[in-house]
Subunit: 407 residues, 4 copies
């Protein structure tokens, strides 16, 4: 169990290259637009104005990183009344990407004040369901496989509503949505323990998401957002259980210190992300190398870092940690585990985590005609400056003011 020397062995480099070959991560359209906290937004001149801009930005990210071929979209924000799905597909194609997960939005309209699928009012529930059915239809039109369902539903005060009734309304709504899926589509059910409902969220943890997905039907799985957990909760264990139950549908990646902070992945606790990836490699090892189908998606919209830098940095960190986790020798690990050799077993994870894989990642990039350092390449590309200029002018022409208010 001796400490490793720096520099990868040939075998290790191959494992990194193989891991990167099969790792793709989806970026979200809303990560390219101005967003903020409830205290306000900090605006960026280069922020995307419309879906075309977002697809262009996502294309730029894919051009530099080579592993982000798809873009998650938000129906309400990206498919305004009367928009043409076929046109969106064309726009995406022009930008070098395709449309990924479709995200309905059933939290923003005033009718959802007391919830969407969980609302005590049947009219609001029906509206939410219809929006989801419309989203499924759009997904079919744009060739999207995943419908990502996050609900802001819940209650903020004890007694506000009956939690069992809300559970049943959710079960009913999800079953109805599931009925409309085509055979290759999948519902991803997300959970979140807190915010914007403050006393209770209707799908608060993975157990609730699991039960609702199970009752919805065979094409529903659980979506794990790394920022949606209690403090000190062991996320990788949840991943392991969902894998074992064949109920892990995908990830929304981001990082946080306290709540759902939307920080870039790995910025606070990179070792945890590594351990999540380790569970996936470990599962695949037990499946003789066959990896599970998992939708890896970024879900961040933090408002301080420049939008494209934040996204590229995130993707680079994800690749790096996925590659490090690929270095663990699972056969040897099992031996240490069986022997109860805690220190040797743990050291295998630590050793993989502290191994510097950058040279191998650069090698992979060169093999694919990508820049050695996508972030540096972005900075020297002029893309952001150009976008800032063009979009500022367009904003002026459209009369859009980048200003916000709290109260």
């Amino acid at each position: 169990m001796s400490i490793h020397s720096e520099g990868l062995s040939d075998n290790q480099s191959e494992r990194v290259l193989a891991a990167l070959d099969q790792f793709q991560i989806e970026t979200p359209s809303w990560g390219y637009a101005d967003t903020g906290t409830r205290f306000g937004k900090f605006y960026q001149p280069a922020a995307a104005i419309n879906l075309g801009d977002k697809l262009s930005d996502a294309g730029q990210v894919h051009r530099l990183t080579g592993c982000c071929p798809t873009v998650a979209v938000h129906v309400l924000w990206d498919f305004p009344e009367g928009s043409d799905p076929a046109e969106v597909v064309r726009q995406a194609e022009q930008s070098g990407v395709t449309i990924g997960a479709i995200n309905p939005n059933v939290f923003q309209n005033q009718q959802y004040k007391l919830g969407s699928f969980g609302n005590p009012d049947a009219t609001a529930r029906q509206a939410a369901l219809q929006h989801c059915l419309d989203s499924i239809a759009i997904a079919q039109q744009v060739g999207s496989q995943h419908i990502s369902l996050w609900f802001a539903d819940g209650t903020s005060y004890p007694g506000q509503d009956n939690m069992r009734s809300r559970k049943r309304r959710f079960a009913e709504g999800l079953q109805q949505a599931h009925d409309r899926l085509s055979h290759d589509q999948m519902l991803l059910v997300e959970y979140k323990p807190f915010e914007p409902a403050f006393y209770q969220t209707d799908i608060a943890d993975w157990g609730m998401a699991y039960l609702l997905a199970k009752s919805a039907g065979p094409q529903a799985k659980v979506l794990v957002d790394t920022g949606h957990h209690y403090l000190a909760q062991n996320i990788e264990q949840i991943v392991a259980w969902l894998l074992d139950e064949q109920m892990l549908g995908g990830f929304h990646f981001n990082d946080r210190r306290y709540a759902d902070d939307d920080l870039t992945l790995g910025s606070i606790d990179p070792y945890q992300v590594f351990r999540i990836f380790h569970e996936i490699h470990s599962y695949a090892f037990d499946q003789r190398g066959v990896y599970p189908e998992i939708a890896y998606m970024v879900d961040q919209s933090h408002n301080l870092k420049p939008k494209l830098e934040a996204m590229i940095q995130t993707v680079m960190v994800a690749q790096e940690l996925y590659a490090k986790a690929a270095l663990v020798d699972h056969a040897a690990l099992v031996v240490h585990q069986s022997n109860g050799d805690i220190v040797a077993a743990e050291r295998m994870l630590q050793r993989a985590f502290t191994t510097d894989v950058n040279d191998a990642v650069v090698t992979w990039r060169r093999q694919h005609g990508l820049p050695d350092d996508p972030l540096d390449a972005l900075r020297t590309s002029g893309y952001v400056e150009q976008a800032a200029r063009e979009r500022s002018e367009r904003r002026d022409a459209l009369g859009i003011v980048q200003a916000t208010s709290y109260a």
Copy 2:
């Protein structure tokens, strides 16, 4: 929705009396013995030495409170090698109580260092299973319906063991234990997110307990320990979900500020306990007044308060909060909820919680020939002083020293 005047209406008093008539709570044998924290124990002269003492103390608690007819026992501590279950039944009878839940102990022996049901070593797993089967047999001999399963299993370091393998070992062990149940017995599967395993506990949350109970068989349900949750987790929501899934088996009651602090129930957050009871009354309302079968059990062994005082205080607080929760008018509440009248709905819970039910509780006690204030009655009874004298002498005779060490 006007504020109430002090003093209960006749209808309210009747609801309190009816609620108390159907509310019983089990006390644990280990709550009468000296226990401590890892930093040491603080000893009490009146602490129980053996099972006979514990049953006697439990009998005293039942005599004063009238709602604690059963006693949970720990197999390892209370049924030493060669003890006769029939004799235990007789002892309990003499003390005016009967044996309640049987708690196997598969965490204390050295062989369980790496776990019991989850241990990578089959020998340790087999020993743990055998102890559980023995416990089921003892339960049958003493006429006990509930087998309470809490496992200390887990890992303390990343990589220490394979979490999916541990899950499968647990599923297998629980199925084997379930096979041995007689038709009227029930397995209660407890979860705990933290301690004594520090990185990952094998049954970390209600979702894991639910899945394992489901896979074990129809006579397995989930046991909710109020101290075993993440900070800020909404326990009453979990209770609501388990009720709706008909998977709530029972409670281990205690309170805590931070972790599993074993404080007396309601000492830190009484409103949360009230809300838990509210969910149960609300469920029964929907079932036309039929209450679910739930094993209410105390699980505390804090080491500062005098043992019997702590237990009686806990029982009194539990009765009080259960009675307050019985005051909520569910039919009216549903109307407010349907109308989205958050303030009126919430006020119904707040009003019930702030209603002073002590007079009605005293009425109930008098109806049952119990002292008005069981705690005062304990203090004037001389029971504790007598126990302290007799047990101190016995301890001396047995050569037992009340002393501890940390390192």
Copy 3:
């Protein structure tokens, strides 16, 4: 230590009346306007549009509760460029209230993206300081004693800035602000461990607020916002320490389950609020009945409950809990504490908390010509419906649309 019978003794009623006589609580102007979460706002027709509306609403709250004579204002939102402080004073007077704490806002403008007093850029720091000095001047003009300072400053990523440098910039800025105070003014320095800065907030806890207030000067004290603490943190202990150090300046009241949820006071954990008030009564007992000067302020702007209902409910809960805490017999408590009689000591707090003080509170209201139930009185007053009508029309006339966007 016997349990009490329902209904207050004469002595208890007098204590409640005396406590209510000396308890006043300030409402915030921003609690009357539409606010939301980062996911959107839910609008209310009756929400205030301008400062006049807010003062009118605050006046209505005071008219019904009799204990909210002052209104906290936000300089940026309530004193737009060119507004006349004297006119504001007149408006307040017309509404039956006076101006309370002045809250500068140094987080909303784009220049504060990297902070205000902590910003690495001296220009931004200077702008923030100037705004605070202007706020102090306004305070002097409107006769306000308290300058409430909450800073959104901090960093969201490790390495983003030097934490020691930021600390020193804060010390310098606060000293400069302190220099401008008139002799009867006070700086209140607030802390917050999280949000909107996500990695580190510059004034993260009471210790940091204490050190900065101390270094600013003798007229700076600490402001405790009940929602700004780590999970499981003992807020009443912080209150006790600040009282003992004579550094407690005031409170921002609200409640929360997880973060800074802006829920109405006591909605999640009323016993904690009671314990905070207990510390204050206990301190005054040691000071022979002289109460410390503390600015009690509400800081909530939750977006689900009707604005005025939320505020009145909050004030009623605050009065109730303050009154309950006044029932503790401190002389007797000290005896139990000295004897190490944990159960008897704790029971004194529990007994006071469970005592129903509503009749005494109603007596106090009648003595002051107030309605028995201010919330019911609001609902029957027609005030909200009238405000909704008038403000909706005004909004239409002004072209204000109640709509929001996330991205």
Copy 4:
């Protein structure tokens, strides 16, 4: 800001070597003995029986790592009644180490049930003070500079005691202890928010430790135990503030997922440890390279890993993370921070953290005649097997049984 290539530059290697030359870390005598959780101990045959064993083990750790020349001792456990300090010094010398911090123990004896310095009973307070004065005298006799004060004091139930009175008792006790220090001694005041007191600990956070240390006198500073913080609390910020106030006395290192789990350093969140070290290097950079005097100490006594392996692994991880943190180019970092270039600034920390420093650490070991991999060297040394044999026999001879009980 391009990504680095693997392998250190000459300049980087020199920085690692220089950092390791000035980094020493103290191991604790209690880390070599059997310890456990409240659920029991898992015994190790090689565990130390007495102080001689502990010093021998500490000597072995220092022999293999070259950076652990001192050993922290616990007065109660290591200096039994009648032990001779001069003899202890000789024993340490024979084992190749010297005595480091002296830790009084005022939590284990029965008289401390309600506290030591904070106890309402003056007799208990006096006993605790006397033990501390004795400890200071022992420290003088063995040439120890640091008196580490951790208090288990606090209360477990609301109302149990007066928190302001306890604060004042602590201030008085600490002042009296400070009076007895010789001019080169230092009191280190530790804080802990939770456990074994469960409602309130008397020195709950760094702010309380700071105030008490300040009031004790100039030779009192704050001791930061990495496991003693609220979830999500930013420890490195506390370190930065204490450094800036010149009040950081030392560290107790360990790691945890939830509470004070006593896991080996860096096993759960290595990036946080790195960031703590970064603050120290950053402070020294501002002091023109002069490092502050900080007592780095391990405080772990986890019961699963083999004792010596756990200690050596901890020391190796500490060296590695300290070395990585030494790689940050502070002059360049300041430029990025001044420019508000968040991504470039953060990347500097991430780059240093992901740099593989193992080769440089091995170089340092070879320069000092140490084994390349101290853990491997321990395993092949035969030391543990020899200790297990010898100590098992001695245990038998002494009649010591390695067995535990919970209740």
